[in-house]
Symmetry: C2
Subunit: 454 residues, 2 copies
Amino acid sequence: MGRLVIRNVSVLVVPEVGECRIDEFQDLHVHDDRITAVAPTGADPEVGLEEDGGGLGEVEVIDGTGLLAVPGLVNSHTHSPMVMMRGAAEDVSIDDWFNQRIWPMEVNLTPERVRVGARLACAEMLLAGVTTFVDHYFHADQIAQAALESGIRADLAPTYFSSTGPEAIEAAIATTRELSTLDPRITASLGPHATYTVTDEDLRRTADVARAEGFRIHLHAAETEEQTRSSVDRLGVTPMEVLDRTGVLEAGALIAHGCGIRESDLPILERHADRIAVASCPKVYLKLAMGSVTPIRGLQSIGVPVGVGTDGAAVHNTLDVWESLRMVALTQKQREQDAEWMTVSDTLRLATRGGAKAAGLTDTIGALEPGRQADIALLDLSGPHCQPLHDPRAALVYSVRASDVVTVLVAGQVVVRDRQLTTLDLDDVLAEARDLAHTLVDLSKGGAVQHYAP
Amino acid sequence: MGRLVIRNVSVLVVPEVGECRIDEFQDLHVHDDRITAVAPTGADPEVGLEEDGGGLGEVEVIDGTGLLAVPGLVNSHTHSPMVMMRGAAEDVSIDDWFNQRIWPMEVNLTPERVRVGARLACAEMLLAGVTTFVDHYFHADQIAQAALESGIRADLAPTYFSSTGPEAIEAAIATTRELSTLDPRITASLGPHATYTVTDEDLRRTADVARAEGFRIHLHAAETEEQTRSSVDRLGVTPMEVLDRTGVLEAGALIAHGCGIRESDLPILERHADRIAVASCPKVYLKLAMGSVTPIRGLQSIGVPVGVGTDGAAVHNTLDVWESLRMVALTQKQREQDAEWMTVSDTLRLATRGGAKAAGLTDTIGALEPGRQADIALLDLSGPHCQPLHDPRAALVYSVRASDVVTVLVAGQVVVRDRQLTTLDLDDVLAEARDLAHTLVDLSKGGAVQHYAP
């Protein structure tokens, strides 16, 4: 891919701690897949190229004048192909959502339908400046192919239940192995569905494989306080204690939701804080009336990283991480009854550095710094909904729309240019999805992939 | 303006009760400022024109193929010129928001700055499909001029505090009188600020004028439960009881927020349900950690209409009613711990018919029906964030972005065409706002327009 410079752009700097800031009039230098330098416009244009001894040669220049460069957002927890069921399960309880709608619909999954859905999901995310997604779904090999076609970065966890038997579990584990060596943009995790759908025995087996082969585990746990109560009633332990006793925490895990994590769970989580993370998707918690949101303040107090996610579009309706991060800020202020908490800077940090940690890519993505992957979104904040622009950081959290994203790079590749995908034909992607949409929501076959009784 | 047909469009039908529906392949006929007919495409094109005896003559045709027509949204409570302070008061408590930021900033208000801000606000709203806003602010005559320039519909309440003395109050009332006869698109209300900033005596005077001259009263009351507690502690009565004993409810009122309305207030409100409404702006309640949201279920149970609003952009950051209505759905499900409550249809009804009632325009706007004003937004739901489109109604609540609005009519006038304002030069509007923005947030003068101590 060679060399690329984003010229004269404002840059969102997200430090590890403290306030974010905007550096204006910068050049962002990219060589192949990495950021090599961020320097004031007009400084030596060869800065960052010295180690290669190269002159400018063939350098692609993107004019960043008037635009703001931000680290590509990370969707820390989703089920990308569920875009195919967008809007097909509205105004239902969490029980009905699982048992009357989604799990019966998922009887209809085929490799082709998953791939078509994943392709649409990748298109939606890239156009919105989401450069990495952390996925958990069936037919993950198909999702990998869609991701590669689109150019997006992904961590993929092939989903399994204990109810489908040991062969299906081993097949899912084998898929994780295959995907992990496929491409630099694809990583893979182990994907047991949840503490309430996978037995302790199977979680132990998962943790053993994870430790032995260096995989992380991505699963749902303590999604609601009700699930935690039920776990304590049935098993005498909380879902976090299940993850602890089965070795999942020690192996390293991304925990989706965790709204039912209790104060008493925090010391357990603290012991593994260097290898676990939690993904928060609050639009879903409100929409399904789940009763609580992720206790981010408690998790951060013990050093557990938190990322921002959308969950699947069958409940979140979009894969828009701008929407998610706004909901994180709003619902966290509400939860803690503290308007000064979950500041603009902290929210932006969750969606970038927090997402990088959730994806297992802590030092690789999540910041616009030399040495990191060139995953970059350029935004135009000149629209009337962002102006006047007293504080671009506040605009990113509280005003911006996904449609303000103009240009997107993943690993140095321009995947969205002037609001158009360069890698996929959007009309084709949409037409394929529309053609197959009815097959996904067909309930005539009966049955379900699982029953929700946590 | 003559005749106009929106040809071959899908139409969102929002009934008074029950499920909304989408009628496909319709022609929407408009004559001057009104909808004259909604009929299947290909039916007699002269339908609805018969009463005028006219042939088609000069009929403007807008191709609605692939678009969805919805009633223009109503922003039921805002302070439009506060867009000038967008992003200038982040991560602060409600006390600091008022006393350290906004009320000190409002010392800087001038007629020109208000007009520039209102112009930007009108541009933002129209481009987002908001065709009516219900405003409460200073220099309302300037806001009226901005609204007229833009073509938007507005109900304007000139704001007053008791602290500024009887002359200022009489001047505000005089402005209400003047604005009420200005133009068919402008209505005016009386604008006492709140029960905690306006004395009972002044509220009584306001109610007397309202009853005598047929105005409605638009004010803040019971914004938080804390305000209600404080009112009971200081006065022995709730803010709703203050509105009752001063005659405000009997005169007819739009109550902004009402998060602190108690169960015990409902019988009082029920007696005036035919002449009051409440506006709910939940993004603000979360962002300022106000502790509760509007008790819409209780209000609806006694027949009090509820509209959806943004409040001012100094706290809401946008004037995007799509965002507000989504937050209403989400926070109401959360509040009632009932995912089946505040359905897609009920949410859409709040933002259209509910907004019409909040604006005092119950039979005039809020639905696409013959005889109503032609306030119409055409949306393109073909974007990847809305597809596949299992349910366009769900997309309107949970997927759509303001940028999906393509064309907007107010009173039959095309004010936005192909995402461009026809009435204002957006670049000029933005440039003016940027030029003046720093003057609004300047705190060097000291002082404040009021002190928040409810």
